[in-house]
């Protein structure tokens, strides 16, 4: 080593003319790249005042960014296409996990796609060139992440033993009752609204709060279940997320010196947290615990560490000096972290033909694990699953469908109008406090007061036709077929209520059930049964 240092010194002595330019030597001039002019204003104005002199922490130039990212890409795709392909990694994954990744990869893709536009919104809004540069890097990162999450589905589609669903989830999701919830939080929540509000949704909550539990936890559970594909991609995604969290922090830094900011900031933070939590908390928990054969850390515990302690405590604690407090809805969110994913999965089981994946009811071992970590789980959920299994949940000849059982037993499924997610007031153990409101002759369901308040304040932002309204009157098998939910034999469903290789449901099995999609708001006279 000493020898090489000497050689470098001698070389520098022999060639004194500086012959290189570091990226930092270029970046330090970035703040001077802009100029003032009359219409130099954002096309997407924010109600906040973003400081024109805000700096950005990572200070990357375009070429330096490409150098760093290129190395990561080579490692990632090299691992996938060389190492993991030769090791036949696609066929070493527990089936429950290989199935849930059909949804996880695609739903995350939706979030990453929304983040392209959300970051572009911020690039447009910021006036500081360094800040613009940071947001630009995030725009390109998000293009990367869409490509990566899509590549997970693409790779599974090529190498996993059941490609159906991995290959066409971009089509199947159109009829998935869970998907509008993704669109709400991960899609439009990142890009449709005040730019700073979008930043809070995307960077301060989506990334700073939920990236760790989303990406880190999923990679751990994936590895436990034989999946080395997902960690290869997701951990590479995670290496970009730090810069995005820093972007979120700098967004806040750029506005907090304006006393006017506090008029809106706490409300925007509270709304953003609830928006993101409402989907991410139950979805990640359901994916991890119900999409796995081998369990790792209970979701409620991971959530408590990453969301409650790390984000709400430490991360927001750093912003306390500016007067920012933890969201008021954090208590309800904590209750949701224990029960929300069980509630959501109950509905996913009930509506399984529309999910596009093979789901499997908890095994005896699973049930013991759930009861051990969530005392009271068995009496509430376990007994239902045992009854469903006895009634022929898995059997294509049974004519049984969980959704019909729920309706017959007075358990209406409604769509929460703010989060766009389905909920069942009578079977929920999470922080559900339903209300049913009327506006302009139409009735709306709300699962809790936080979302209801958001709707009351800005009802025009949540005007949409929900799943039941959209497909009311459509026969179930016909709906599945029209969304591409049938395998190449033209009859077997892509979705199945088990992960066995025999006893697969076909369109005819669904047709025999003769279920026409109802609108529960009508058949139950817009009120839940008690």
């Amino acid at each position: 080593m000493a020898g090489s240092n000497t050689a470098v010194k001698e070389a520098l002595k022999a060639h004194p003319a500086p012959s290189s330019v570091s990226s930092q030597e270029v970046h330090k001039w970035l703040q001077d790249f802009t100029w003032e002019f009359k219409s130099n204003r954002t096309k997407y104005p924010t109600k906040y005042n973003m400081d024109n002199n805000t700096r950005e922490q990572f200070k990357l130039t375009a070429k330096e960014y490409a150098r760093m990212e290129s190395v990561k890409e080579e490692r990632q795709y090299g691992t996938l296409l060389d190492g993991l392909s030769r090791l036949d990694a696609g066929n070493k994954i527990a089936p429950q996990w290989g199935e849930i990744m059909k949804l996880v990869a695609n739903f995350l893709e939706t979030g990453e796609y929304g983040a392209i536009s959300g970051s572009a919104l911020l690039w447009d809004s910021a006036q500081s060139p360094e800040q613009k540069n940071g947001y630009l890097a995030q725009v390109i990162d998000e293009v990367r992440h869409v490509n990566q999450t899509a590549y997970v589905n693409y790779y599974f589609g090529k190498h996993y033993y059941d490609p159906a669903g991995h290959t066409n989830m971009r089509q199947l999701r159109a009829i998935n009752p869970l998907y509008p919830g993704v669109k709400r939080s991960f899609g439009e929540g990142f890009l449709a609204g005040d730019p700073v509000e979008s930043s809070i949704n995307l960077q301060l909550v989506g990334e700073a709060c939920f990236t760790n539990p989303l990406i880190v936890s999923i990679t751990e559970w994936a590895a436990a279940n034989g999946d080395e594909i997902t960690p290869t991609v997701f951990l590479s995604i995670e290496t970009d997320e730090l810069r995005h969290m820093a972007n979120g922090y700098q967004t806040i830094v750029s506005i907090v010196n304006d006393p006017e900011a506090m008029k809106y900031l706490q409300t925007d933070l509270d709304n953003a947290f609830w928006t993101q939590h409402k989907f991410l908390t139950p979805f990640i928990g359901a994916a991890l615990e119900y999409g796995s054969k081998y369990k790792v850390e209970p979701w409620a515990k991971s959530w408590n560490r990453w969301v409650y302690e790390d984000w709400a405590g430490i991360w927001l604690g750093r912003l306390a000096q500016f007067g920012i407090k933890s969201p008021a809805c954090l208590g309800d969110a904590k209750q949701d972290a224990v029960w929300g994913h069980h509630d959501l999965m109950l509905l996913a089981y009930a509506l399984w033909p529309l999910t596009g994946i093979r789901v499997s009811l908890p095994s005896t071992e699973d049930m013991a694990w759930f009861e051990r970590h969530y005392p009271g789980w068995y009496d509430h959920y376990g007994k239902i699953y045992e009854e469903w299994k006895a009634l022929g949940f898995e059997d294509p000849n049974s004519g049984f469908l969980g959704a019909i059982w729920m309706m017959q037993n007075g358990h209406g499924i409604f769509v929460d109008h703010t989060s766009s997610l389905p909920f069942c007031p009578t079977l929920a153990k999470s922080a559900v406090r339903p209300s049913f409101l009327e506006s302009n002759g139409k009735r709306y369901a709300f699962s809790e007061p936080h979302g209801e308040r958001m709707w009351l304040q800005e009802p025009e932002r949540y005007e949409f036709v929900n799943f039941f309204e959209q497909f009311e009157g459509r026969e179930l098998s016909e709906l599945i077929q029209s969304a591409g939910g049938v395998r190449s034999d033209g009859k077997t469903l892509m979705a199945q209520p088990h992960v066995n290789t025999t006893g697969l449901w076909t369109l005819d099995d669904i047709k025999k059930i003769n279920l026409t999609i109802p609108d529960p708001m009508k058949i139950l006279n817009w009120q839940p049964t008690q």
Binding site: H15, A17, P18, S19, S20, E25, W29, D32, F33, W35, F37, S39, N40, Y44, T61, A62, K63, E69, N91, P95, E109, Y113, G114, I116, S117, A120, L121, W123, D124, N133, V139, I140, V143, R144, V146, Q148, Y161, A164, T167, R170, Q171, A174, R184, G187, E188, L191, A192, G193, A223, A224, D227, S420, E458, E460, Y462, V465, Q470, R487, S488, T501
Partner: protein, 392 residues
């Protein structure tokens, strides 16, 4: 006894893997592995470029070509949807029909840019250590690469910023990708000029790497005034994202940008012993070429040639937009020609009137070949060129 569990890796642990294998079917459950089989391919086979992006957009079904059924579930205050077809006057029967001819997605894009960066690093090293900088005419360095070259940074940087709202608003996934990468390239082009200027400051005593002189020129010199006006208008005052892209890549950068980069900085640099500037600008020219190819795919192939319903409508708008932006582009170039009077070295055939006119004719004729001709845009070429040359 400790309750701590040891993490078991399912892939590598023999017992767990044996349990998993017992659940893996002997034959795949599905034989069809075609990715996004519902999507229309742009080439004979689905490319990775399409596989990783096409139909990723979860748009509402009001955007023609979308796979979605339904609408956006969170709207802007006031009720406007996230992706709105009214964001542009152009109409498509399928906004997802666009394909970038260069098939750029993230991986090949950053790989190429990294290669450009690495090659540049090595070139700069050799350029300095071989003493190439000694060939440079010092007046060129201090009078042109000082203020004029840095003023051009503002041109590139302004055009970069004009891409932010177009990325946000672009109506489909592969469109957003092309727009985002084109914007990123413009930012890179601005930074590469500054990279060169920092290197010059290390080798030429008294060369000021700051942008002070350049900004002063950009803000107050008549040489740049129409260019600045163009950039400010297309960045700050133009709300139709297709119009922005057409004005930037298909008119202004094709005529003014190509002239400044290629005909002035690359060509004239050589008579001043400058081998560095042409190298740096060659990357920006590549980025422009890629943006042109993609823009032609959008405005001609997708919105006219293969547009079954609205091609006439679209053409009418492109003609009108050309009427709006071409004179401003001509004015920018006319004003810029004043820079030839500041040149330390002149050379017949290059910097004389005939030489400059040949340069102007090249960029205008290139534009006619690539854009005006295919569009059917009629204008008085000679009068346009004469008007530009009046600035010489």
């Amino acid at each position: 006894m400790s309750q701590m569990q040891t993490f078991v890796r399912g892939f590598a642990d023999p017992q767990r893997q044996a349990e998993i294998q017992a659940l893996v079917p002997a034959e795949p459950l599905e034989s069809k592995r075609d990715h996004i089989p519902f999507a229309k391919r742009g080439w004979r086979r689905l490319t990775e470029y399409e596989a990783v992006m096409l139909h990723a957009q979860n748009s509402l079904d009001a955007v023609p070509g979308s796979q979605e059924i339904g609408e956006s579930v969170q709207k802007w205050p006031g009720g406007r949807a996230a992706f709105s077809i009214e964001s542009t006057a152009l109409i498509s029967s399928n906004w997802f029909h666009f394909r970038d001819p260069a098939r750029r997605w993230f991986m090949p894009y950053v790989k190429a840019k990294n290669e450009e960066g690495s090659t540049t690093e090595r070139f700069l090293k050799a350029w300095v250590e071989n003493g190439d900088y000694r060939m440079l005419n010092e007046d060129w360095v201090y009078k042109i690469l000082g203020p004029t070259y840095s003023a051009f940074i503002y041109n590139e940087y302004g055009l970069f910023n004009a891409h932010s709202s177009t990325v946000h608003t672009g109506l489909s996934d592969l469109l957003k990708t092309y727009i985002a990468l084109s914007g990123f390239d413009k930012n890179d082009a601005a930074q590469m000029i500054q990279t060169e200027r920092v290197l010059l400051a290390k080798n030429f005593p008294g060369f000021d790497p700051s942008l002070a002189e350049g900004k002063a020129q950009w803000m107050s010199s008549p040489t740049w005034a129409p260019a600045r006006s163009f950039v400010e208008t297309v960045w700050g005052d133009t709300y139709d994202w297709c119009e922005q892209l057409w004005a930037i890549h298909c008119i202004y950068d094709e005529i003014f940008g190509q002239f400044v980069r290629r005909e002035f900085f690359q060509r004239v640099a050589s008579i001043h012993g400058d081998t560095l500037t042409p190298w740096i600008q060659s990357q920006a020219n590549l980025y422009h070429q890629q943006a042109v190819d993609a823009s032609k795919a959008l405005f001609f192939k997708m919105l006219q040639d293969e547009e079954p319903v609205y091609s006439v409508h679209n053409k009418r708008y492109l003609l009108a937009w050309t009427d709006r932006w071409l004179p401003r582009t001509g004015a920018a170039l006319r004003a810029f020609l004043a820079v030839y009077h500041d040149l330390p070295v002149t050379l017949d055939g290059v910097t004389c009137r005939a030489g400059v006119q040949a340069s102007v004719e090249r960029v205008v004729d290139d534009w006619v070949t690539r854009f005006a001709g295919p569009l059917g845009y009629r204008f008085d070429r000679d009068a346009f060129i004469n008007d530009i040359m009046s600035g010489y």
